[in-house]
Amino acid sequence: MRKVAAGGSRFVFETRFLNMRKFATIIVMYSVANPLLYLLAIGAGVGTLVNRSSGGIDGVPYLVFLAPALLANAAIQGSMDETVFPTLGGFLWNKTFFGMNATPLGGREIALGVYWAAMLRVVFTVLCYYIVMLFFGVLKAPHAWLALPSGVLAGAAFGAVMLAFAGNVKNEDHFFTFVGRFIIQPMFFLSGTFFPLDSIPIYLRWIGWISPLWHATDLGRYLTYGHATPIWLVWTHIIFLLVMIAVGLTLAFKAFGKRLAK
């Protein structure tokens, strides 16, 4: 019998990397244009207004407050693109996952390979965002760079869950409508992104509590400028995001395996 190479997920990663290279221009443009747009609109617009009227939020200029949230949100968008589309393609459109599964690769390796490639995209996106912010001179927090790991963590947590979700999707139309309207949008606006979570009514705050964006954002604020987060909550943020990764991947492995076995 032939030996089966260990760590088969790297071969799936390679495929995803080749695929991403075909869209390199779009990915780079998006990764740069996205922060430009936000920083111009919010930095020059909303930010100036907030700073003038109240001297910023949380004792820091508005963009210092906002930076970790924008990074985490960009990470989430990137990880969503690179987990959902490849998975729908692999199972529904080109059915490439079934081709992979005809080789020694199994559901676990395929899911993990897609995930690693998504994480590469997350890191790239967050770095681009960070560099654009450097040019705008908005990284005035004492430990501004610590928004990078908290952002990546947000992308990693959300991507793992989306991978599991997408692995179960049989009809893509409903999926996009559902995720876009009922998950992404509320999460973006109600995760303490543009204003502190405790400034929204108590009955809406639960959205923040279960949102990886809020956990990563609050963590980022604590790390970058010392936002007054109690230490137990800091650990809650980290554990929440890590648990999301673990649960998401476990469910994804299951979904992929089941889907391929027919």
Binding site: M1, V4, F11, N94, F98, G99, A102, T103, A261
Partner: protein
């Protein structure tokens, strides 16, 4: 007899209440080309997925290269080249990239694959398309690429599920020619098809499957000899008259089948039967004398045609 590569005994697969594969026995030997012939929904693809170690049986036994696919899936798959019913190439990547990544899935080194690409492109007659995006290829080209892709790992068994379904006649013949070359090289082929001409062209030995059960087993020539006459006369009296005329024709041949659009008369000398019909002053609208085929075998065994 040479080495048995696949052995199935009482192989059964159920999906809920539906039994897709119903206790079948067969063996495939090294170097032969083995066929599963049957209509759509007969259980061929399900059987292929079980052999391909991607779907698990409900009961019965099967070994591939002496191993149980339930326990040694990845190891078994490392020895197989699978051509699925529908191509699942990576459409965004080029022809060469598709060969490359597929080789990588088997853990082959980039150097080994790069050394093999030219040979595979030549085999698939895709040298000029090496840098073309798969999206832009014709159906026949995609099919040949899928076959070339399955060969990158030098498999012990090549499994083809409906290899020419959906291709135009010219593309089919090119593909048959390629598969015939593989057969000549001694590659073990397992082929499913619902085309009797394909089975006759490519399979040395086959099983006829219907509703998950094996109806007959043997070489194409064998099966025709056993279940049909040498020749067939096909006559058409118009779809409304066929039934009525059939009774008068029954004593003129060995066996007779009435289909919705035509009557088949089985005989050693079909030309002679036609002459007798004419002499009896019956005038079919059209008539055709031909040799018996696997289609006739299937009709005899199941009372139905292969393509419905």
């Amino acid at each position: 007899m040479s080495e048995e590569l696949i052995v199935a005994r009482g192989l059964t697969k159920k999906f809920g209440d539906f039994t897709a594969v119903d206790g079948i026995d067969f063996s495939v030997y090294r170097g032969e080309s083995f066929g599963l012939l049957g209509p759509n929904g007969a259980g061929k693809s399900t059987t292929m997925r079980i052999i391909g170690a991607t779907s698990q049986r409900t009961s019965g036994d099967i070994t591939i290269l002496g191993k149980d696919p339930e326990k040694f899936g990845p190891q078994i798959r490392a020895h197989l080249g699978v051509i699925p019913q529908k191509d699942n190439l990576d459409e965004q990547l080029t022809v060469t990239e598709n060969l490359y990544i597929y080789g990588r899935y088997f853990g082959l080194s980039s150097k080994f694959i790069k050394g093999k690409v030219d040979e595979l492109l030549e085999f698939a007659q895709l040298e000029e398309k090496r840098d073309a995006k798969v999206e832009s290829l014709s159906g026949g080209m995609k099919r040949r690429l899928t076959i070339a892709r399955a060969l990158v790992s030098e498999p012990d068994i090549l499994m083809l599920d409906e290899p020419t379904t959906g291709l135009d006649p010219q593309a089919r013949h090119i593909l048959w020619d390629r598969l015939f070359r593989l057969k000549e090289k001694g590659v073990t082929l397992v082929i499913t098809t619902h085309f009797m001409d394909e089975a006759e062209q490519l399979c040395e030995r086959l099983i006829v499957i219907d509703r998950g059960k094996i109806m007959a087993e043997g070489s194409p020539a064998d099966l025709i000899k056993r279940y049909s006459s040498k020749e067939v006369l096909e006559v058409r009296f118009g779809s409304e008259n066929n039934e009525a005329v059939a009774d008068q024709l029954r004593d003129k041949c060995e066996r007779l089948e009435v289909l919705p659009d035509r009557i088949l008369l089985y005989a050693e000398d079909a030309e002679h039967v036609l002459e007798e019909i004419m002499r009896a002053n019956m005038h079919p609208k059209t008539s055709l004398v031909r040799r018996s085929s696997l289609e006739d075998v299937f009709l005899r065994l199941t009372g139905r045609t292969l393509i419905e």
